[in-house]
Symmetry: C2
Subunit: 332 residues, 2 copies
């Protein structure tokens, strides 16, 4: 019963985040407002804001205090999507035209920049909801470093692809930077701004980092196990961009010479990506790489769950536990 009330409260809060995100850029009327609103609304799953809010609750804090930071987390996430879609040449995002496709690359660069700045503007707004300046500055440190990590991850990914570097450790480092750092920052910020003790902030950071790696591996798998109709984004983006994801790396490690050659040909190939995706999916299947990658993701989920043991038993901790279990069981 208490769990249900909590879930309803959280759903209401997430609904409020979605509404406020719409208001944030929805009323200006300029090109920039239109682009940012297009990118933010309708909202996605709001997973990062949810992580931030649950982390605030998991340390016994007040979610109202951290609400602006939850908005900021989504702005920051969407900023990275806007710039990613330029880099990957993706025209579809959440089932709609990407910002770069709708407004052009130049405008999309500026829109992404504005959303990065808005992440920090939102963080500053926590001053008005009752967060202590000391805690806001600690969160500022976490968020800005996370942003740099994210860029390091993207840049490292570009290097790995360019060098065709089939190295699982390098991939895991890259994923930690590119995806898991943001999850970590969301949880740490929620806990920090809500006044959580250092060891709880640390435990939530550990949880989120492991969750983030599992999440990304599962995302990588979707390109080979689901269609774009399910995911709302093109399933061939990884192929077009010659991306070395974990299933591909594990397939390469397990493959014979002829399949290794085929993998390389798919990744450097040009033209219609769909037949190439099918070739790769078949190799992934016969080398058992999909199952092997899923197992690695499960290992990270177990680590995430383990980290939660350091937190007091609350409904929020159980919900965070549920997110970890669901992370490798999503279809989008």
């Amino acid at each position: 019963m208490r769990g249900q009330v909590h879930a309803d409260e959280l759903a209401a809060l997430v609904g409020e985040v979605a509404v406020r995100l719409g208001e944030r850029w929805g009323s200006g009327g300029s090109l920039l407002d239109a682009m940012c609103a297009h990118a933010l609304v309708p909202a996605g799953k709001l997973f990062r804001p949810i992580l931030l809010l649950e982390s605030a609750r998991a340390v016994g804090g007040d979610v109202e205090v951290v609400l602006p930071a939850a908005l900021g987390a989504e702005c920051g996430h969407v900023a990275s999507l806007v710039h990613d879609d330029i880099i990957d040449g993706d025209d579809l995002r959440r089932g709609r035209p990407s910002v770069q496709h709708q407004y052009g690359v130049d405008n999309a660069i500026v829109a992404g920049d504005a959303l990065i700045f808005d992440l920090f503007a939102a963080l500053a707004e926590c001053r008005l909801t009752g967060a202590s300046p000391e805690r806001i500055v600690l969160a500022l440190e976490v968020v800005s470093r996370c942003g740099i990590d994210l860029c390091r991850g993207q840049s490292l990914e570009a290097e790995l692809c360019r060098h065709m570097d089939f190295d699982v450790d390098a991939y895991l480092t890259m994923v930690r930077l590119k995806t898991a750092a943001f999850f970590r920052a969301a949880c740490e910020c929620g806990a920090l701004l809500a006044g959580g003790a250092e060891e709880m902030v640390g435990a939530l950071g550990m949880y989120a980092e492991n969750l983030g790696v599992a999440f990304q591996i599962h995302d990588d798998l979707l390109a080979y196990t689901w269609t774009s109709e399910t995911t709302g984004k093109p399933g061939t983006s990884d192929i077009r961009n010659g991306r070395l994801t974990l299933p591909v790396l594990l397939a390469h490690a397990a493959a014979d010479e002829s399949d290794r050659l085929a993998i390389k040909e798919v990744l450097v190939g040009e033209g219609d990506p769909e037949p190439r995706r099918e070739i790769l999916a078949a190799i992934l299947d016969r080398t058992g790489a999909v199952t092997a990658a899923a197992k690695v993701a499960q290992r990270y989920v177990r680590s995430a769950l383990g980290a939660l043991d350091a937190l007091p038993p609350t409904i929020s901790r159980e919900r965070l536990r549920g997110f970890a279990e669901a992370a490798i069981d999503r279809d989008r």
Copy 2:
């Protein structure tokens, strides 16, 4: 004599800023480190860090406290240059290949993003040099809003150019957002972090905003009065990008029908921009637009100087005065 000591001290401090900027990204060895170091080093004029440092002093503060924020100001400025060079297709920056030219557009997007995040990381570092958390949060608010203003200015500029909107008021709004907001933020942050009183922060903000507009107008004029050898960046960028700068707007207002047509043809034209620049420079000359734009810049300089009267008489105030007088007398 005291003025000389102050100038020497400041020169030493600015030298330290340059060295620390080099160290900030100079030792990592990754592609991202290489790109950020390429963009930051050798340092430019460091005008925004200088404004920030002098503002801290002008309110009687300790420059050591605000030093990280001064580094951040340059990171933020360089971030905008890196992304601008993508948008404008400029291959030359500070006499060297631009990041997008050297490393490609995709990598340059990521490098610019990293430098935006580093601006905020640097701001957080002021916690270690003795700035109060309250003041850091106020500075965070100023900087994040300034960043959004900057994006609004860039986006507005794109709109004005696309619509061939020869509107001086719209131009001035755009310049206030695109250029002056950053000057304002640098001065306000220096004053805020150094513990300055509200009215001093306001006076420095007013000074900087007017200085920024004058600075941008002068910059716009350079495209028609100087060559790329002097400025270290291509003098034809404004032409190639069909940019509606103040001298062009004033020439359009003063021109006859045939010259108005010629101006439009130059701005929408394709191919070699240099002959088009020469046509436009001749129209600017015969309509007196260069002189008229310079006069507008002078008016903003006078407003900037007037704002400084609210500050106590210090060497820093005199130096800020000198910057305003020199702003419209630069050749790069």
